[in-house]
Amino acid sequence: MRRHLPVLLLLSGIAGLIPVACGKAAGEQSGNFTLGDPATENRTRQEAVSRAAPPPPLSEDTFPCSDCHDPEIPVNREPRPMAMAHDEIPLEHDPENMWCLACHDADARDMLHLAGGRKVPFEESYRLCAQCHGAKFQDWKAGIHGRRTGQWGGEKEILLCANCHSAHSPSFKPIQPELPPLRPETTR
């Protein structure tokens, strides 16, 4: 299970593309965000505002965290390997300097927290990544980084960082390539 979780997260992220309305759609657990990017503000008529965060790739049995984590129980903030639960989660994201509570918030278990302490919901997990991966974040905002589908000049489906990169084991794993083309000698 521990072995498969990153793959499952990756797959659920890729499979979990949900078309996003212009921030006006009701009934979606999404939050509006303006990226505060001058490029997006000076938009021509051709490219409509199209961004709103898709749901983060959370699996049902681990979220909401507060279902299990009782706020009454004192928190052990000592970095250590997990034993009772979450032991299948690999910690391959700068393990020398980070562990669970570097991102997850011990006081508000259903939130993440930034370096300065401010809490962010999982829907805005990109803000967490942006702290260390600033250049990547700028690229992602501009559309240079990350896969997008939809309309080149209109509504697009974008993905959260976590939709493609497991936060616990972020590096892309090699994949099996499709078959090579046939050589011309074999075409008869």
């Binding site: 490219e47 997008r148 000049g153 209109g154 493609c164 994949i175 090579p180 046939l182």
Partner: protein, 296 residues
């Protein structure tokens, strides 16, 4: 019989033989479409309408499926550009196969519009030592990087000037297209293209009916006859209705970027403004609209 009569007789016999052989071979070019129809770019709207109706019927007959063929023209203020992040591409070839399905390419003989070249990091971009036939359990392979190549939709396309009948031309939105009913199959354009982007139908293309993409554009992904040239059109059937090309959406690592070069807010312009891009074989002055960059 004089010499000229002799040669004329040979010639007429050859033509008659051609016609007979083609009719016998079941070539449907003769059955519905008028033989003397014009090149697509010279057609009047009503002729285009007739052509679309004829193609719809022909494809339904051939594949047993309803198809939708459009002739959407280019929009003003749009010029398409493409950028590919070489630091992202892992050589998985998902783009190649997404393209084959989207654009109704022949499975046998096999035609691929996109060719992914595996190159060595030590050598950099070196076509002489590139390998499109790499096979591996997993990609990317250690010490290698991957360079997919398809039509570069050049600003100064050598293929367009080489065509003796004007069967290939560049549309106002930058896409170089081919009229498969006008192309005579001389393959001058294939010799002229520096990127190996153009492909010839050496035999009657074979497309399984179940895998046919019924959303077609008349100078895009509608099934081509044998004996004509074809190539990437930036998925003209998709991009002219506002969608990304199939390869852009298929890429699992988001290496492919596409948009309107004339829109300062587009993704492609973001790439050109913030990244250092280059083009292939720039010394040939083809001025491709397909840029490569290293995002990392």
């Amino acid at each position: 019989m004089t010499t000229t009569e002799h040669s004329r007789r040979d010639f007429v016999c050859a033509i008659a033989g051609c016609a007979a052989a083609m009719a016998a071979g079941g070539c449907s070019d003769f059955t519905h479409t008028p033989f003397f129809k014009k090149c697509f770019r010279d057609m009047r709207p009503q002729q285009i309408a007739v052509l679309l109706a004829d193609l719809t019927q022909k494809n339904k007959h051939r594949f047993g499926r309803d198809v939708e063929i459009t002739a959407t023209t280019s929009q003003p203020g749009v010029e398409f550009g493409y950028a590919l992040d070489l630091s992202r591409c892992v050589g998985c070839r998902r783009c190649v196969h997404a393209c084959v399905e989207e654009n109704n390419q022949s499975r046998d003989p096999q035609i691929h519009w996109i060719r992914v070249l595996e190159m060595e990091k030590q050598k950099g971009i070196d076509f002489a030592h590139a390998d499109p036939y790499y096979e591996a359990e997993e990609v990317p392979r250690e010490g290698h990087f991957y360079l997919p190549v398809a039509c570069q939709q050049c600003e100064n396309p050598p293929c367009v000037s080489s065509c003796p009948v004007g069967a290939t031309w560049q549309e106002p939105d930058g896409i170089t297209v081919i009229d498969p009913d006008w192309c005579i199959g001389c393959r001058c354009c294939i010799s002229a293209c520096p990127y190996g982007a153009r492909h010839f139908n050496w035999a009657e293309p074979e497309i399984p009916a179940a895998e046919l993409n019924p959303q077609m554009h008349v100078i895009g992904n509608r099934p081509r006859p044998k004996g004509v040239v074809e190539k990437c059109t930036f998925c003209i059937q998709r991009v002219r209705s506002g969608r990304y090309p199939a390869c852009v959406e298929a890429c699992p690592v988001g290496a492919r970027k596409f948009g309107n070069l004339l829109d300062p807010a587009s993704e492609i312009r973001q790439v050109l403004d913030t990244k250092n891009v280059f083009v292939l074989k720039s010394e040939l002055n083809t001025r491709p609209r397909f840029f490569y960059f290293y995002g990392d």
